[in-house]
Symmetry: C2
Subunit: 585 residues, 2 copies
């Protein structure tokens, strides 16, 4: 194997000698820079090396790279203030980067400077004194900056500025006080793995072009199935672009298992199929049914108890009702960790009913699946091993970067039969390796992004015990929050009892509403509290937490904790902030 | 706004002072390292700083970072050979990284070292003297390395080694001689943008958590619609996880447009629907029909001419046939750039037929859409502006990193009506900003990966003219290849005439077959040639190109050129390599 060009290794050497192969380069650039009027040269250098035009939050210090460049400055041409003007982005364009001739040096400089911008962002993301969000209304953001696409290229200086601007307005989803979604946090190993995935830039359809990633998907899915409790980790599965698609896969496979002719003949060839899921389940079940030609009317929502858990007796009643009408129950989707309440459906009871009526049992554990990693909490999913399929999103409770969602299937080969189309240009049958590793034909997608590597590398780095510790900590924080607010003045819990997941659902009742009668007017006023507090949170940028109505319950906060950066103090802060922002309402 | 901790800026300062806040750290680490027996400390230091255990290809030089560390070594404890033992990965775990207390220093060192590994890979990717692929059979790869997941964490030294190993066995999809798929090449700006996307780690469903990315999607889709030719760029669209899903969206929306009741009632409520596409079209049309409950039998494959273009008269004939049976034609999917031949269906003729029979016209321009950026080649898609929907994958011909696929829809609001489920926990109607920017409910997905930023940033960096230059160059290279082999001994073209896209389809006929009669035996022997040459290419690792049979044509090579790194010399090399590897067959 060849060694990379020596230019690579000599680039950026910080010994002060500049480019050993071409000591005149730095000087030459400086001379060019001086020809510019209007201070562009100085401005550029300052920008690149940290003296000016920093985003407001970045402080006055310099990046390691900037420091090193200054130390290595070999420029003796005044008035060029550029410490080491070997790469002048104002003169460089994308066409100067690899694979261009002599593209190695500017490429490495450019990518390293992008990296410096990203590293600054990473560090700021964890800094409690920075904002979670620098909020601007859409029209403001559209006006403040020119985002339009044009015929002509921009130089790399401008490209680097776009990177900074984009991050300036980004939500710091890794910030310790970001609680807005089920997916929060920024895992450093996961991030590194995602960068590597981008760099490898390949596609999951065949072993031919993604050998390691295909094997890692095999290993990882098997491990997940073992944890679910399927003997020897046997079965099937895929990483799909999100939980909604994983749930849709489950519905698709369940239908195919019962009526394989549907693949060729369509829904016209089969009786009316009915799916069951709880009224607290995720909307993707209905979305899937609409897409698959089943129709949303054929998704029956089963009643939940006060805690948001499916009531098995209602499930059985509705199954019988449907069968009496001559329709065919084909799928029950139980939820392990509902989106709003974090409720776990009683999987054993559901499994018994599915067995009795021979219905495919799916468990949507997109949110709750992570608890399987915890010896303390996995009992909440007891019965999951009896499911035919399971959705489990490591990008939620396990903190893997977006996206990483797995659909696990107990029966091997079913996905392949359901979805394969035998494209001969891709899945050639006369290849020289074991074709069982060309897994692409079991997917609905053709090209498929590599989502497994970040999970695999994080798993290596944390071990199962590391995920367990993270999950136990998040659950403990949720309990801490619950214990503080359950008896605190101004708070009402949406449901009683300790949360089973990290979802803590509550109303904050401002002083002005505390002594009102519990009537419609109070409800109406209470419904406006959470949206206003949330809007203020975003404008101050101090924290973010979600709210929503549910059934007859008006807008309430849904606090969820999946963020590894969150501490008890952040929970305290959230409470204080809600009170600070809401006390006048 | 706060400044990040000074630790950030002081980390890695190359002035030789070490950590100014804690000058004893380096020495302390060295002392710890010395306690290890068996040379682990030395081995680790050497590994980290570039002296040993480099992957075979990386040569003997050192990374800039390694050099700078050596220069900055402040260690005076012997026999520690560690130049600057401030970060010792063998003692560090994921739990030592941010958000851990004092996690900033190891985090920055770790991410920077990952980056150095990635930069080495990038440089090697473009080096013609490195292999495209270091091929191993699946069982070899499974045996050579332990990929299993365990309970206990691994240290960061091991994690860095996993990164190196993963890349050692990766296919260099950016290598100038990688021609295996429609998506090839590695764009530096696109890569930087994808790293940024990973770092921002957010989700496209709401403006609330992805303000800039949502706006950029809006701007970019509008621009793409303008280029398609829809007045003022009006219409709708989404970035979806790949062309297959984009095509499925088109089918879903076409069905909804004709029979909106299908969303609630399912396929049972509508007559039998029929879709039409050419026999050379992509398999995703059938896959989509199977999933959507339409059934593959209801996808009628229209005959193609010798060049792989749909024959309009056959389309009309089949539409009439279907209507006579009382079925309902609801979708024609024309292909602009077929997968194997690169053929462009006659869009104007197809549009006339769709208009006449009031059928939704979809254009699958996943592969050919890029040609719209070229003034020289866009005529091949004339009539695309009359389509109701268009699939266009910038991750193919435009070289955007995987994945980046757009589905564009002429009628605004249809996607939303078709797919929305009004999840109140996500799409709250009482938010404080313009809710039209919460675009998530028009998707089938709930969470959706940010795919737009890499395209947007590349577009800024290249301008439309940059994409045009890339596309014109690739087409020119394809013509160069065609001109060389069309009359060269030992080659037969699969179809006559200059290729319309970059697909060049040909048989290589080894000397032993050249003078055989054109009978079944010859065909049988010819069909084995391409697979063997391809297997040898992979084992030598010199180049990669795809092959497949099609209809009654036995295995032939399909050369495609989307790789920006490819030159005339690489085309010459491919021909020589095919002859070198195939002459004995």
């Amino acid at each position: 194997m060849a060694s990379p060009g020596s230019g690579f290794w000599s680039f950026g050497s910080e010994d002060g000698s500049g480019d050993p192969e071409n000591p005149g380069t730095a000087r030459a650039w400086c001379q060019v820079a001086q020809k510019f009027t209007g201070g562009i040269g100085n401005k550029l250098c300052a920008l690149l090396y940290g003296d000016a035009e920093k985003p407001a939050e970045s402080g006055g210090s310099e990046s390691p790279r900037a420091t090193s460049r200054k130390a290595a400055c070999a420029c003796n041409q005044k008035p060029c203030s550029c410490p080491k003007a070997d790469v002048n982005y104002a003169f460089l364009h994308a066409t100067d980067l690899l694979p261009a001739c002599d593209g190695e040096r500017p490429t490495l400089a450019f990518l390293q400077d992008v990296m410096d911008i990203l590293l600054q962002y990473v560090v700021k993301s964890f800094d409690r004194s920075t904002k979670v969000i620098d909020f601007h209304y859409p029209n403001e953001l559209l006006q403040e900056y020119n985002w339009e696409l044009a015929d002509q290229p921009q130089n790399l200086e401008e490209i680097l500025m776009h990177c900074q601007t984009t991050l300036k307005y980004a939500i710091k989803t890794g910030h310790p006080r970001y609680f807005n979604q089920l997916s929060t946090g920024l895992d450093m190993v996961g991030l590194a793995a995602d960068w590597l995935t981008s760099t490898a830039n390949t596609n999951m359809f065949t072993y031919e072009i993604a050998p390691v990633f295909v094997l890692l998907e095999y290993v990882t899915l098997k491990k997940m199935r073992e944890i679910i409790g399927w003997p020897g980790g046997s079965g099937d599965g895929i990483f799909s672009p999100g939980g909604a698609i994983s749930n849709m896969y489950a519905m698709l496979i369940a239908r195919f298992k019962m009526f394989p002719e549907v693949k060729e003949k369509g829904m016209a060839a089969v009786p009316r199929l009915i799916a069951f899921t709880s009224e607290h389940s995720h909307f993707s079940l209905k979305k899937g049914a609409a897409a698959l030609g089943i129709g949303t009317d054929s998704v029956i929502l089963i009643k939940c108890d006060e805690r948001g858990k499916m009531i098995p007796s209602d499930l059985e009643r509705r199954i019988l009702e449907v069968k009496q009408k001559g329709f065919v129950p084909f799928l029950v989707s139980a939820t392990a960790g509902t989106t709003v309440y974090g409720a776990f459906d009683p999987l054993i009871a559901v499994a018994d009913i599915c067995k009795k009526y021979k219905i495919w049992m799916h468990v949507d554990a997109a949110w709750g699946g992570g608890l399987l990693m915890s010896r303390k909490h996995k009992w909440k999913l007891s019965g999951v091993e009896r499911a035919n399929s399971v959705t489990w999103n490591p990008h939620k409770m396990m903190g893997v970067p977006l996206q990483c969602s797995a659909l696990l299937v107990r029966e091997e080969g079913l996905m392949q039969s359901c979805n394969q189309m035998h494209a001969s240009y891709l899945f050639q049958q006369d290849k020289h390796y074991d074709l069982s590793y060309d897994t692409g034909d079991k997917a609905l997608q053709c090209g498929r992004h590599v989502d497994v590597f970040k999970l695999w590398l994080m798993w290596r780095a944390k071990g199962t015990t590391g995920f367990e510790a993270h999950i136990d900590k998040c659950l403990e924080l949720a309990e801490y929050l619950y214990n503080i607010i359950k008896n605190r003045e101004g708070y009402e819990m949406v449901f009683d009892g300790k949360p089973q997941h990290t979802n803590v659902c509550f109303w904050y009742v401002p002083p002005s509403l505390r002594f009102l009668e519990d009537n419609e007017e109070r409800m109406s006023r209470l419904s406006k509290v959470a949206p206003v507090i949330k809007a203020r949170m975003m404008e101050y940028g101090t924290t973010m937490v979600s709210y929503q109505p549910l059934g007859d319950k008006v807008n309430f906060f849904r606090m969820v904790i999946s963020n590894p950066a969150a501490t008890h103090q952040d929970i305290d802060f959230l409470i204080e902030e809600i009170e600070r922002l809401g006390q006048d309402l």
